[in-house]
Symmetry: C2
Subunit: 338 residues, 2 copies
């Protein structure tokens, strides 16, 4: 059998990740022991949320060290099972990292359903990003019919799903994204009530004020920094701020954080700001997936994928994430099913 | 009949309020018209929350202008009623301001219950501060049995009630206060598990870490600024930050706010920060008062009053609030019931 291509961290990352921070390494094919499976990966994700593990500092997950395989969500095929949780031929989603093959006991993994098509959706709209949008918007943000919802990084995987879910709840949704193409997508394909191109706006505050004249009831924040601070100036009474991601800050470790929040208006505007970890909702994922399936099949919930072919392109895809280059769920195709 | 002593704002306040910012003025006794009442005030409060109206800038209430009577919560006796909401001889609580007599239609006022004794409690533990503690702690903070609750300005009217209410819910309560006497009161009279004298602590972060070794599940913030920032570094997973008051910031208008909050840890610590306006809970005040009465009569909920005799002492009492000089609900006695 072939050896096993892996993308490993070459050095700790300082500032914006670069392709040279990673290297491709060929390793021997692992052998499953008792209770284990060998999985051949077909798709892997590139996730901004991984950034926190690449600087060598502890966050909520232990740091990755140089020489370790880069973390990623994966969809793969069980090619050998020695009494493992899944059977040969099962398609499974998990977080096996940027590698062709992995041996696993299957903890934290799931068999994907037949209707999760294309299978890459198992780590996209039906995976962590979709669940993040679902629980972050519906459980934490709690938009109500007629309310105004503002979403940053709104053309991203999480942002676009979060915005559409708010619209399905009857909210009026405005997105912030970088570039005319993404903004056109939000308005025309997704039917957002408004879209703000933060790269082109003369004054972001004015742009938010114009598109959200009654104030913002839910601000779903994927970016932090200046955009968060600006959005906070437009909250309506009783507004909720969902702290979902802070991508503008992930490369700034060791420097003073931007986007600090003044707590004073929280009193007179009755604001609530809340962060969350999507895995806390794991026991409701299956029900959420089924609900989202209905909307997707009815054409009411759309998503995009940004697929690069070949594991070796993952470092390029990963660094592109932080340049705002991706437009859709960032994925690399590692192999074909057949 | 006598004329009507009033405390009026003499000039807009810059920085810390001083007694000279106010003046005593004698005005003609007002006459109630149809549907109105003449109330003789017996007690008035001095409230840090009034500070926001004294700088001439709009906040959630319109600013007070020089020459206007200083706002205050009041308990008074209806001495004349021309078909007003209440009858002659009724004791009523409201916000008639720092004056001996006021004419009012009674909007936003209530007749106080016989069991609200002493009658000053109608604007203390049974009034806005008590309601603020009750709904801020129990509805917003939601402490659970065994959880750690940290309260700043813990010897104050709101803070001491909030801490005791958390303890009644089974939480372990630690207070932050200024001075050994207040800290002894928290530990010995109120039975707090810990008390931190922020004026004496070498390192506030260390002191919080030592008194809250499992982290803080609910931080009830009355002060903002550096204490808020320090407390945020000790939040437990899923912690709630109740933004109740920001007294350390009230005199800093026009300068950069202190106590800015980094939103990043909100994600991995799953934090929630929330402000509130107590009047949003007005339809539950009566039930809350009845519940608190039970605890007070059972000796399980204690409160202190800091009464100065004579309306003319209100300016001194008000400026003392911001020096941390008061120990208990700040009140001035305007007149006797009999």
């Amino acid at each position: 059998m072939s050896d096993n291509c892996c993308i490993v961290l070459d050095r700790l990352v300082e500032g914006a990740p670069r392709p040279e921070d990673f290297r491709l390494e060929r390793r021997p094919l692992p052998e499953p022991g008792a209770g284990e499976m060998l999985v051949r990966n077909l798709f892997a994700s590139v996730d901004p949320g991984s950034r926190g593990r690449l600087s060598g500092r502890a966050s909520y997950a232990p740091p990755l060290r140089p020489g370790q395989v880069m973390e990623a969500q994966t969809v793969g095929l069980v090619v050998q099972s020695d009494g493992g949780r899944f059977a040969e031929g099962d398609l499974v989603a998990g977080a096996l990292g940027l590698r062709e093959f992995a041996v696993t006991k299957g903890r934290g993994m799931r068999r994907i359903a037949d209707w999760e098509q294309p299978i890459s959706t198992a780590i996209g709209i039906y995976g962590t990003p979709g669940m993040t949008a679902y629980f972050g918007m519906l459980d934490v943000g709690q938009p109500e019919p007629g309310q105004t919802v503002l979403v940053s990084a709104a053309a991203g995987t999480v942002g676009s799903a979060a915005g559409q879910l708010a619209a399905l709840r009857g909210a009026r949704v405005v997105g912030i994204a970088g570039g005319a193409e993404k903004c056109r997508y939000l308005r025309e394909a997704l039917g957002f009530a408004g879209a703000i191109d933060y790269k082109a706006a003369d004054d972001l505050a004015d742009a938010i004020g114009e598109t959200c004249p009654d104030g913002v009831d839910v601000y779903f924040d994927n970016v932090g920094g200046v955009i968060l601070q600006t959005a906070l100036g437009h909250m309506a009474d009783g507004g909720r701020i969902v702290i979902c991601g802070q991508i503008s800050q992930y490369n700034r470790e060791g420097t003073a954080p931007e986007g600090l929040v003044d707590p004073h208006p929280f009193i007179y505007r009755r604001l609530r700001m809340q962060g969350f970890v999507v895995f806390d909702y794991a026991d409701r994922f299956e029900a959420a997936r089924r609900e989202m399936r209905g909307w997707i099949e009815a054409g009411r919930l759309q998503f995009r994928e940004h697929v690069l072919d070949g594991l070796e392109r993952a470092p390029e895809a990963y660094s592109g994430l932080f340049q705002g280059e991706n437009f859709g769920r960032g994925l690399v195709r590692i192999g074909e099913l057949a």
